[in-house]
Amino acid sequence: MSILVDRDTVIIVQGITGREAASFTKDSLDYGARVVGGVTPGKGGQEVFGLPVTDTVRELTERFHVDATVISVPPAFVKDAAFEAVENGIKLLLIVTERVPRRDVVEIVDLCRLRQARLVGPNSLGVISPGKSRLGMVGGPAQDVRKSYAPGPVGIMSRSGGMTTEIANLLTVAGLGQSTCVSIGGDPIVGTQFADLMADFDADPETEALVFFTEPGGAMETALAERLRECPSRLPIFCFIAGKFVDEMRGVRFGHAATLVRSEADTTEAKARTLREAGVSVVEELSRLPEVVREALS
């Protein structure tokens, strides 16, 4: 097993004829993901790498039992694409698009809540269960994915897409594989936060340790700490927090849209304290992750 995406997850891509979407669709097929088709309004009847392109999501959900959709359309069209997917019964949405208006994100989250669907992103690079399948484009072309990711017992979640691959690579180089790696997205509001993934990782027999990457800003770490107090995890959990220098630079945004220190609670120092109190091991040096994870696994 793994979480969110597995060998037999049936995937469609909304916006499949876009340059970036077509390219990651091919990469995902090469990696073994079961992508069965895609949607681009007005381009129904075309093909992308042998996959059918339709005008509507329904044409695909009528033909296949679709488990997940990857949404890669311009920001102004994301909300409608997400609504179309949810109202056609798709239960897992991954939004790759950046710069989606915040109000639209909240409405998508609300609809997912009403229909018991899950949203990862926006501004997520994807979800990968190494050796099995991938949603989105995390890790790049299949040959690059195979260099950075390997199957194994460590779960990864990250506010940074690039660091999802960086941490996987660090572990892979050290001989430690991964169960599922989730790029949750770098925006102020994302559909799936760290706390939302705990139940999944806890229930996954393949996951034996969890590593996550976070940054200044936002309240996601507090929510995770609360969740861990209410519902202790069976897993050893490790965290690396980047951006210590941002603590001293209030009001200046670095990197992702959500990476901004406004108050004390936003600082890496406050986050580290909160997480440690909840039993998370906060690692000071990124390169020490493999050895501490290995120690916990043995």
Binding site: P101, G162, N169, M220, A242, F245, V246, G255, S287
Partner: protein, 393 residues
């Protein structure tokens, strides 16, 4: 993006929320039109910063002479790093009580949240006795949500109805204009029992500007510098390089005092690399995040800009394992910049650590010019350590 007080109040006014009758002036000779019956009057500096009262940016005048003195003093002065070029003049109001009303997003709950406090004029993040209620957008929000919040906070009688109406209008404005914050602080209850928004702070979601074209063009929001911090010339040049060429994200340059130039990325790895350089005793000259596959030109120009900053001897180029950005393009850009500046790439690049897409081509270029590089088996920390060591040698 933060709006000025007078703009925020204009949005409130359009939404049917009462605001003081104000006038905006940019020069001293404009105060001639202020009538005797308008005194006492408040002169409020229009700058994109909070805490204006404490910083001396707001003053009260009893008569025309005093007003002239205040305006002379405030216009052109600097409040919290921002030059005051306009003042908002408003008649002083007799206030019975002050409250706080706000709407923003709660990122943990993933919904909007309405906030109320019985003490107005406060910094709500530090205040106690703050009442909050998250409200979903589906089904669409209705007034009762705000009535519940206010009743729960002990607001009663006629004031409950009036304040529910104001908060509903504020929430509607918040959603209609794609705000990320809409705050009335303080909301005054006047001696005659009316509600009046004495100060307002609205932040707009720049990602939603495309659906507010009229407002954006009327108020010139597109060309407005949205950072709360004033940019240096160095930082402005980086932003210019970024907008000249759309390929890749590069820029978001922030100047620091140190000697090691940094070309780092992406979003998370740049933070990681910056911290690592400092932990190993290095002093960064800048923060500069690249990603999204920048062109050779963009990398070249940024490198030249950084190397031209006084005191910069060497450049460290560090990114996470990349899947979209091409290693060879970044390598080419960095080497080209050094050659154009007449600098020896092998001496001036402290370390090049970008593994991933097109790495073999990239490494071939770096080898050709003798640039020290490392592959994916060397961590970001270790690369940063080597850069700092190289700088000292």
């Amino acid at each position: 993006m933060r709006l000025y007080e007078f703009e925020s109040k204009e949005l409130l006014r359009r939404a049917g929320i009462s605001v003081p009758r104000g006038r905006l002036i940019a020069a001293l000779d404009e105060i001639g039109s202020v009538g005797d019956d308008e005194f006492p009057i408040a002169a409020k500096s229009q700058v994109l910063a909070g805490g204006r009262m404490k910083a001396g940016g707001i003053a009260f005048a009893q008569d025309a002479t005093e007003l002239a003195a205040i305006c002379t003093r405030l216009l052109g002065t600097t409040i919290r790093g921002h030059v005051v070029d306009r003042l908002l003049l408003e008649p002083r109001v007799d206030v019975a009580r002050e409250y706080y009303l706000g709407v923003t997003y709660d990122s943990a709950a993933k919904t909007p949240v309405a906030i109320f406090s019985r003490s107005g004029g406060i910094d709500v993040e530090e205040a106690r006795a703050v009442y909050k209620a998250v409200f979903p957008l589906l089904p669409p929000p209705s007034s009762f949500r705000f009535k519940e919040l206010l009743a729960n906070a002990g607001v009663k009688g006629r004031l409950l109805s009036k304040m529910t109406d104001t908060m509903t209008r504020l929430a509607e404005l918040f959603l209609e204009h794609d705000c990320t914050l809409a705050e009335i602080n303080p909301l005054a209850v006047t001696a005659s029992g009316d509600l009046l928004a004495l100060d307002a702070h609205i932040d707009l979601d720049e990602d939603a500007f495309y659906r507010h074209r009229d407002l954006v063009s009327d108020w010139g929001l597109d060309s407005r510098d949205s950072s709360e911090r004033t940019q240096s010339e160095f930082e402005r040049k980086a932003a210019e390089i970024d907008t000249t060429d759309h390929r890749g994200v590069a820029g978001r340059m922030v100047a620091f005092d140190g000697s090691l130039g940094l070309l780092i990325g992406g979003g998370g790895a740049s933070l990681t690399a910056f911290d690592a350089v400092r932990r190993h005793g290095g002093t960064p000259a800048n923060y500069c995040e690249i990603g999204g596959n920048p062109s050779v030109w963009k990398v070249k120009e940024l490198t030249k800009l950084i190397m031209g900053k006084p005191g910069v001897e060497k450049l460290a180029v560090i990114m996470n394992v990349v899947s979209n950005t091409r290693v060879d393009l970044v390598a080419r850009g960095v080497v080209k910049a050094m050659l154009e500046l007449g600098l020896e790439p092998s001496e001036r690049v402290a370390i090049f650590r970008i593994p991933g897409a097109w790495e073999d081509d990239g490494f071939a270029i770096l080898r050709k010019y003798g640039v020290p590089y490392v592959d994916r088996t060397v961590s970001i920390d270790e690369a940063a350590r080597r850069a700092v060591t190289s700088e000292g040698s």
